[in-house]
Structure formats: structure tokens, C-alpha cells
């Protein structure tokens, strides 16, 4: 499937489904090292995104879709994930520009812009046990896949797999940003909720692309 406005819509709808299914799981992760609201925050935010998509006219470009989603997440999530994912999707939209569909290199650039937006907003570094620890391996895997000639679906699949591995790899880390940093050493031994939701969202992007192709 071409990564056009239809794909972008389907990405966000799939993300909303994944977040809704994992609502309790994300809340449990956040209960261990945060304030237990990440699942609720994300579910509310993505449900609002879907409602916005349902209400609006069909958008012409993927950037339009992502921009609308960004504004909605910022206003509805309520936790740190709101400005972080909001910034990520805004930067992703800017990176896509007015292209009708995204080619592999544009996908890499979009993911990279999203990641850079999160860094700019939250000032976390790799290893701080945040969603960055899912995003950065995802960007790297996407770049590797694209330069090996993979198609856009395969680039997204590579990103999604790396994000999931990155999320798992946050388990032993000690948090240095966000609420979990209040726990110091006691944050080790738990998965970062934002890294886990990043893996879900990128898996949704790959799913919406219909798998490698």
C-alpha cells in the first residue's frame, strides 16, 4: 500500500485500537514507575484523534492527517505524552511536506524528524529510560532498511520491530527523565510506558502499510 493520506488515517486508527487494547497494560507499566495514567491518557488522546478523523473531510496528504492528530493529542492526552507525541507528529508532518505519498527515504526522514522533535521537547538522551529509547533504534533500523532498498512497508516494519526491542531494553535502565526519575534506582526492572506505547504506535504504522511491500 502506498503511504498516502489513506495510509496515515489507517495508521492512526490502528494505533487507537492498539492503545485501547493495551490500555490496562500501559497503566500497569506507569503504575510501577509513574502515576498510572499513561494507558488512560493515550486511550483518551487516540480516541479523540479517531473522532476528529471521522468528523473531518478526507485529507489530501499524510501530513494533513498527522498535523490534525498532533493538535488533538496535545489537547487531550494531559500527561507528558501529549506534548511529546504532539511534537513528534507535528515535526513528522512538516518533514512530509505536501507530498501525496511517502517514499522509503521520506519515511526515514519523517521518523527521524519525529524523534528529534521528542528530544527537543523533552531533552532526554538515549538510555534515560524514555520513549526515546524506542524511537532512536526505530529510526536507525528504518535507515538501514531503506538504504538496503526496502519498500516503505518494510521500512516501517523494521522501525516497529526495533522500537519493540528498544522498549524491552528499557527494562534494566534507571530513569533520568520524566516522573520515573523520582524513583531513582528503583525505576530499574520496569519497562518504560512511553517506550511501550511508541512500539505500539510504530507497529500500527507498519500494519496500516499492509506489511512489507
Amino acid at each position: 500500500m502506498a503511504l498516502d493520506a489513506g495510509w496515515a488515517q489507517e495508521w492512526l486508527r490502528a494505533a487507537a485500537r492498539a492503545v485501547a487494547e493495551n490500555r490496562t497494560h500501559l497503566m500497569e507499566l506507569d503504575r510501577a514507575i509513574g502515576d498510572a495514567d499513561h494507558g488512560e491518557n493515550m486511550d483518551r488522546g487516540f480516541a479523540a484523534v479517531v473522532a476528529k478523523l471521522d468528523a473531518g473531510p478526507p485529507p489530501a496528504t499524510p501530513a494533513e492527517v498527522l498535523k490534525a492528530a498532533a493538535m488533538t493529542l496535545m489537547s487531550t492526552v494531559g500527561g507528558a505524552a501529549g506534548p511529546l507525541y504532539g511534537t513528534a507528529l507535528l515535526r513528522a508532518a512538516t518533514s512530509l511536506g505536501d507530498a501525496a505519498e511517502a517514499q522509503p527515504d521520506a519515511v526515514v526522514a519523517m521518523l527521524s524528524a519525529a524523534r528529534d522533535g521528542i528530544v527537543a521537547r523533552g531533552k532526554a538522551e538515549s538510555g534515560d529510560k524514555t520513549m526515546i529509547d524506542a524511537w532512536t533504534p526505530a529510526v536507525e533500523a528504518a535507515a538501514t532498511a531503506a538504504s538496503a532498498g526496502a519498500g516503505p512497508g518494510a521500512v516501517l516494519a523494521a522501525a516497529a520491530n526495533a522500537a519493540q526491542a528498544g522498549a524491552v531494553a528499557t527494562d534494566p535502565l534507571v530513569a533520568r527523565k520524566g516522573r520515573a526519575s523520582y524513583l531513582g534506582e528503583r525505576s530499574a526492572g520496569h519497562r518504560d510506558p512511553g517506550a511501550a506505547s511508541t512500539a505500539l504506535i510504530l507497529a500500527a504504522a507498519a500494519e496500516a502499510a499492509g506489511g512489507p511491500g
Binding site: 495514567d37 494531559g78 500527561g79 506534548p83
Partner: protein, 132 residues
């Protein structure tokens, strides 16, 4: 006229209480709470709201500059996001303080009441000692 303050907290009660407390020593200063998430009909939940913060900045501003105080880190991110959406002219008159919320707000409000510039008010917030 004077510099206005925006009090961003995860809790609507904290934001309102800080404004009431600071108002005692700054009767003429615009003190605007932006606490909790959008109510959506019900009571505001714990969290921060981009829209509440953006609206509060406009309300506090009125051309004399605004200093924003926040509680936890995600409130800072929401406030920074709101700043990016201001037009350049307005943006130039707004400052985000790195300050203890309650203590900084009282000190900042006193400075604003005295007619301090946005930089003066920012400094008062950031230098506020804990428990004078």
C-alpha cells in the same frame, strides 16, 4: 499596567489556590490559573492542557508581558509547546520561569505589582527562596 502571571499545575486546585494566595499581595496583577486537563463537562482531571495554557497566556498578557510558572516536568513541556504557537511579537513578551511554583508565584506577583519588567518578574520567581 503590569506583567501578568500564568500558573500551570497538574491540579486545578493548586493553580487556583496559588492565584488566590499571590493575589493577596498583588491586588492589581492578572493572575491566571491553568490547572488540570480540560474538564470536558466533568471536573478537571490531574494533568495539563495545552488549550488551558494557551488561553491563559492570552488572558494574562494584554500587552504587558507574561511570566509562566509550572509544577512538574510535563507542565513545562505543555507550556513550551504553547509558547511555540504564539506569534513572534507575543512570544517576545513571555517568559517561562524555572521556579518553585508556590514560592516563586508569590515573589513574582509582588514584583509585578510593583511594576517590574518581565525580566524583573522572572528573576523574582526564579530567585524566590523557599519559605521566607
Amino acid at each position: 499596567m503590569s506583567v501578568g502571571l500564568v500558573i500551570v499545575s497538574h491540579s486545578a486546585k493548586i493553580a487556583e489556590g496559588v492565584c488566590e494566595l499571590a493575589a493577596q499581595m498583588a491586588a492589581d496583577v492578572r493572575l491566571v490559573p491553568a490547572g488540570g486537563t480540560d474538564a470536558g463537562g466533568g471536573a478537571a482531571r490531574i494533568g495539563t492542557s495545552f488549550e488551558k495554557v494557551a488561553n491563559a497566556i492570552t488572558k494574562a498578557g494584554q500587552g504587558d508581558g507574561v511570566v509562566i510558572l509550572t509544577d512538574l516536568g510535563s507542565a513545562v513541556m505543555t507550556a513550551e509547546m504553547a509558547l511555540e504557537f504564539l506569534d513572534e511579537d507575543e512570544r517576545a513578551t513571555v517568559r517561562l520561569a524555572s521556579a518553585a511554583l508556590v514560592e516563586g508565584a508569590v515573589a513574582a506577583a509582588v514584583q509585578a505589582q510593583a511594576g517590574g519588567s518581565v525580566e524583573d518578574v522572572l528573576r523574582a520567581a526564579e530567585e524566590a527562596v523557599v519559605s521566607i
